[in-house]
Amino acid sequence: MHETAAPNPTDLLASPLTLGDLLDATSLAEVLGSFYALFRLPVRILNERGGHFARTQMQAALNEYLGELPRVAKRLGEEHRTLRVGDLGEGGELFHRAFTGASYYVGAIGHEGRAIGRFIIGPFRSAEAGDPSEELLASDPDLDVARVRELLDALPRVREETVKAIARHLSVTLDALIFSGYRAKLSEYMHLSSVQENGRQLSEAGQTLRAQEQRREESQRLQGRLLGAVAAELTEPVRVISDQVARLDASSPREQGDAAGVLRQQARHLAELAERLLQLANTESRPALQKQEIEPAVLLDRARAALGPGCAERVELAIEGGLPRLWCDAARVGDALRLLCENALEARADGVVCVEARRVPGGGRGAADLDGFVLLGKPPELLELRVADRGPNVAERDLERVSDASHELGPERGSVRGGLRLAVVKRLVEAHEGSIRIEDNTPAGAVFVVVLPLFASGMGL
């Protein structure tokens, strides 16, 4: 916002422009020369301060002669000041009969409702009047009256109505030239600004590329961490297995039975780790989704059943009635739900996990507060799946890093397997144009909230 008259060079579209911004003075003088050749009337163009801008070459001999007489020259100066900066009134024109007997027509030059200059036609000798005034004849004893009359007779003699018609013609011509000049000025400005803007955008794109490169390097670093964490996770079961195998040879049948149990447990651990790594590898390779319509209740039942005995019965489902069918890759979304349930079950070994499915308006809470809400088509509806446990709360830092495959949620919330599970879930959900977030489950525990579009494509702003 600018509260001054000073033009802002960076915003030509809003800045007031001067005559010099819009017209070329040299070219305009040529136009005026042509005008003089046609009408034999001298013309001057002044800027908004009354300063010279362009004129016809012809000089009025009458004024040159009178200007040589000191007493007359002063009065002549006052006349010229009236012509240069005198008030033109609401109509923007002035018909001035000077004390010399010459006449002048002054017209305003405007641009967008603002006066940016004026033109002066004259001196000429009005057909209706034009004798030297008594004031002139008495002004200077050295005045050569015969010479004055001779010079006055040399001026073009024109009817005032004719001058007005010529002035209208000149005004229209100037208006067209100014409009063309303005148009050219704006085009030039926009071309230059567009180049600058494109340059700026290119620079931004360069920065984005650099940032992506940094993220790629960070991703590589995280992958390294992941590999390290996986290797560490593998080390313990391998060590345990080796120890148990070494003891088997010299052990009693009872000890062999115990060792077999430990071996089975470690084998399950290794198998699960391998499965998660395989799933993560599959989601990273972004295979095509096999979408189909499926009832949300069926989807949740299948995911619960897949948890197997001992776990499935610890999962309670709360499904809103009348939910429409979901358009998704049922196998993959089912996997995601199962992994979330496993994660929640692990958070508290003896706890119950609640899975809630409900419909929510697009844009989340207060969708109508979105700018341009009316522009949306049918308000998009979303399916919200909430997997709640009563384990430890999730610290704020974890909410932002749920996507990090190598991120460990902390000693209270799991291990590398937990991080791998959530990474797999996030990729599966995002492949369905959905999102995942974590909320605290007051007073204890966490809620993993998956939001999936119920229609083919979300439209939220």
């Binding site: 579209l13 926009m190 522009l375």
Partner: protein, 243 residues
């Protein structure tokens, strides 16, 4: 907005934004047709050979309020085609208010939302916020077959729940054009007046000014009646106060 205390001149910039071929230029042409000749200059169009807007259209409007303040309103359009994003960003620089011209056709819904998101981004790139910017939304082309366009009932329901005043228009016939313009002018004026106290500094009567503009645009009745032709917008005050 530019204010020159010395010459008592105020310049306001309004922008018509929207997807390609939604009727932004047609709106300006319709305004130019009806406005009093003394209150406007030529309509400038910087277009291409196929009549698509290349940079912008510019309609200058000049009004002299009773308080003696000269108010210049520069009305711009932006090029709607996706490739002109940088031009749109330049044109919205320093905008005081926006008429978003949406295409009523159902199959243009995605383009409408994309253009509105583009507006939001370009305002933010210029340090402006959609939340505090006076905006009216115009659904144009209401004369197309009913099965091809979004229904009045649907728009009325959504407009009632949304933030922006909504006007229905057939810009090619001038229907709804003046209403949309006056609706934005009033919203813009309210915001600017709250920020700069024109009424206190210049003895400016806001309602009288909007009525003057309405009359110069050929309206014979009260401006308030034209502005009230909007759908929704009751929550627009929240936007004006930047909440």
């Amino acid at each position: 907005m530019q204010l020159d205390f010395r010459t008592r001149e105020l310049t306001i910039k309004l922008v018509y934004y929207g997807p390609a071929l939604s009727g932004k230029t047609t709106n300006l042409q319709a305004l130019h047709r009806v406005v009093d000749r003394d209150s406007t200059g030529r309509l400038m169009t910087l277009d291409t050979k196929d009549d698509r807007t290349l940079f912008f259209d510019l309609l200058p409007l000049n009004f002299k309020a009773k308080s003696g303040v000269s108010v210049r309103i520069k009305v711009f359009t932006v090029p709607g085609q996706a490739i002109h994003s940088s031009t749109r960003r330049l044109v919205v620089q320093g905008a005081d208010g926006v008429v978003f011209v949406a295409d009523s056709q159902k199959n243009e819904t995605q383009n409408n939302t994309a253009a509105f998101l583009d507006l939001k981004n370009n305002l933010e790139a210029n340090g402006l916020s959609l939340k505090s910017m006076p905006v009216v939304i115009q659904f144009n082309k209401r004369d197309l077959p009913a099965e091809a366009i979004r229904s009045d009932e649907e728009l009325e329901e959504l407009a009632r729940r949304g933030r922006e005043p909504v006007y229905l228009a057939v810009a090619t016939k001038g229907v709804g054009v003046v209403e949309s313009f006056l609706g934005l002018l009033q919203s813009t004026w309210t915001v600017l007046n709250e920020q700069h106290q024109f009424d206190r500094k210049f003895g400016f009567e806001s309602d009288a000014f909007v009525q003057l503009v309405a009359n110069k645009l050929g309206a014979s009745g009260p401006a308030a009646r034209l502005i009230a032709a909007r759908l929704g917008g009751a929550r627009g005050g929240e936007r004006q106060h930047g909440t």
